[in-house]
């Protein structure tokens, strides 16, 4: 497996229907970039020289098989992962810089909120940390559809509701970069649709979102897709380019093809 560029031959510069094109300066520096990022965990390589850029005001999907390194990459971006070599630059600063802590929001894969506090207590605590006041806390709770449960202890919420509390606590600081690790797991289609609507609204207002997911219809809603397998970036394209390069309209099929192509030795080419 060589570390050369993604398999598609389609140029990566053709970003269709980027909602935010009008509000963003054309060639503004990328919101996020990684340069030969290498991370070891438990003595084994988990990210192997990952390089990519994410333009501002876009929704980028981070996909790939379980254990591929998605969460690790996100941890490196928010600055809580020890990095072996390479670099990550976020909003023009090295990842983990103190100044980034109020400009980057992170929602962990497992909901990380206080189970023994109410929804409102959780939101108000994070609002106090970001210094945004109680109105912002209440607005974030409403935005994830939990206004009715605001007074309920998080421990007594359903799994999907807990995920949404965690999301609300990241939304309330209005970050410029929002890193969401599988934020829609366990949510029903109606709510997923609503949240994706919100993600695009945020992007239209200039927020950059990096969202990991296993759901292919969500992949289709991203402006760009990063496909991570065993710590290597095997695709960095728009959904349209990936469909074109693999010759299928079905993104799930497209990914399977890319993954198989990459997994098999050169002589065993997939037709």
């Amino acid at each position: 497996m060589s570390g050369v560029s993604a398999p598609g031959t389609v140029p990566a510069g053709s970003l269709p229907g980027s909602d935010s094109a009008s509000t963003q300066p054309a060639a503004a520096s990328a919101a996020l970039s990684a340069d030969h990022l290498t991370v070891d965990r438990g003595g084994r390589p988990v990210l192997r020289g990952v390089t990519f850029e994410v333009p501002r005001g876009t929704v980028t999907g981070l996909l790939g098989p379980s254990g591929g390194g998605k969460t690790t990459l996100m941890r490196a971006i928010v600055g809580v992962q020890v990095v072996k070599s390479g670099s990550v630059t976020v909003l023009g600063l090295p990842a983990g810089s103190a100044e980034l802590r109020r400009r980057v929001g992170y929602v962990t894969q497992a909901p990380s909120v206080y189970a023994d506090l109410t929804v409102r207590d959780n939101a108000r605590y994070f609002a106090a940390i970001y210094g945004v006041g109680r109105a912002a806390a209440d607005a974030a709770i409403a935005a994830v559809g939990l206004a009715e449960q605001a007074g309920q202890l998080v421990a007594s919420l359903s799994g999907g509701q807990r995920t949404r509390v965690s999301l609300a606590c990241a939304l309330l600081s209005s970050p410029q970069l929002l890193v969401l690790d599988e934020p829609t797991v366990g949510l029903d289609p109606v709510l997923r649709e609503e949240l994706w609507g919100q993600f695009h609204e945020l992007a239209a207002n200039g927020t950059t979102l990096l969202v990991s997911s296993h759901v292919m219809d969500e992949a289709g809603r991203c402006d760009r897709l990063l496909l991570l397998r065993e710590g290597e970036l095997i695709a960095d394209e728009t959904p349209a380019a990936i469909r074109a390069a693999t010759g299928t309209l079905d993104l799930e099929q497209a990914f399977l093809r890319i993954i198989r192509e990459r997994a098999t030795p050169p002589e065993g080419k997939v037709a």
């Binding site: 600055g79 809580v80 992962q81 802590r101 109020r102 605590y125 994070f126 940390i129 600081s173």
Partner: protein, 245 residues
């Protein structure tokens, strides 16, 4: 560091405590209950109660706050909230001082209840004022809390966290002069006890027991307690890593 975030954290920890009435009840009632047992264990020799009961008023908050904070911090770690907090504008000291303020308040309530029982129900007598006893007890609690925060950095599981109690706390209880005067121990243990902060807590309460006013030994002991607590907090902050593997 920001006072706003520190106070918000203290408020959050107290709210968590408020949602757990059983823990509050145990926190407030258990020391008093143990004092009652102690009183009647030494039924035939009331002077022993005056000698041991008083220092125990400082040892209880030390032990409970050590346990409560090391578990609370471990929960913060395993629930992912610690990692999340470290990605926010919160400074590490905001978190540690927030815990410190919250548990110092809880310890003050605990010490007040234990002292009220000891003085009014069990007839404890001290030359110095009960307020001084509460003050020393709160200092002990803050010290226990700071040590709990520090050692929680070395615990990966609840089992490990709980085992730190016998490892870190019990030797100090054995050596602090509670059971037997320190000058009657083996010389090397006496020397070792000089280095353990709980020794000064027990000595401070001994001073309150026999002197009506604030002696220089008492002020020095209190300064040592506070200094040790600050040192443990700084160590805790140093071991709290924003980045992990």
């Amino acid at each position: 560091m920001s006072p706003r975030i520190t106070l918000a954290t203290a408020g959050r920890v107290l709210t968590q405590l408020r949602h757990d009435p059983r823990t509050i009840a145990l926190l407030l009632v258990v020391p008093s209950l143990l004092m009652v047992i102690l009183k009647y264990v030494f039924d035939g020799n009331p002077l022993v109660f005056d000698r041991i009961g008083l220092p125990l008023l400082g040892v209880f908050p030390f032990i409970t706050m050590f346990l409560v904070t090391s578990v609370a911090m471990l929960r913060e770690r395993t629930s992912g909230t610690l990692e999340r907090l470290l990605t926010t504008p919160m400074a590490k000291l905001d978190l540690l001082l927030g815990y410190g303020i919250a548990f110092a308040l809880a310890a003050a309530a605990q010490a007040a209840v234990a002292c009220a029982t000891a003085y009014w129900v069990l007839g404890l007598h001290t030359a110095g004022s009960a307020a001084l006893v509460v003050a020393v007890a709160v200092a002990d609690a803050v010290l226990g809390m700071a040590l709990g925060l520090f050692v929680s950095a070395f615990a990966r599981t609840e089992f490990q966290a709980v085992q730190f109690m016998p490892a870190i706390v019990l030797p100090q209880v054995l050596l602090c002069g509670l059971f037997i005067a320190r000058d009657q121990m083996a010389g090397w243990l006496d020397g070792l006890s000089d280095a353990l902060p709980l020794t000064y807590a027990v000595q401070a309460l001994g001073e309150v027991g026999v002197h009506a006013d604030v002696t220089s030994t008492l002020s020095r002991d209190l300064a040592i307690l506070v200094g040790a607590a600050v040192a443990a907090l700084v160590l805790a902050a140093a071991t709290l890593r924003r980045r992990s593997g």
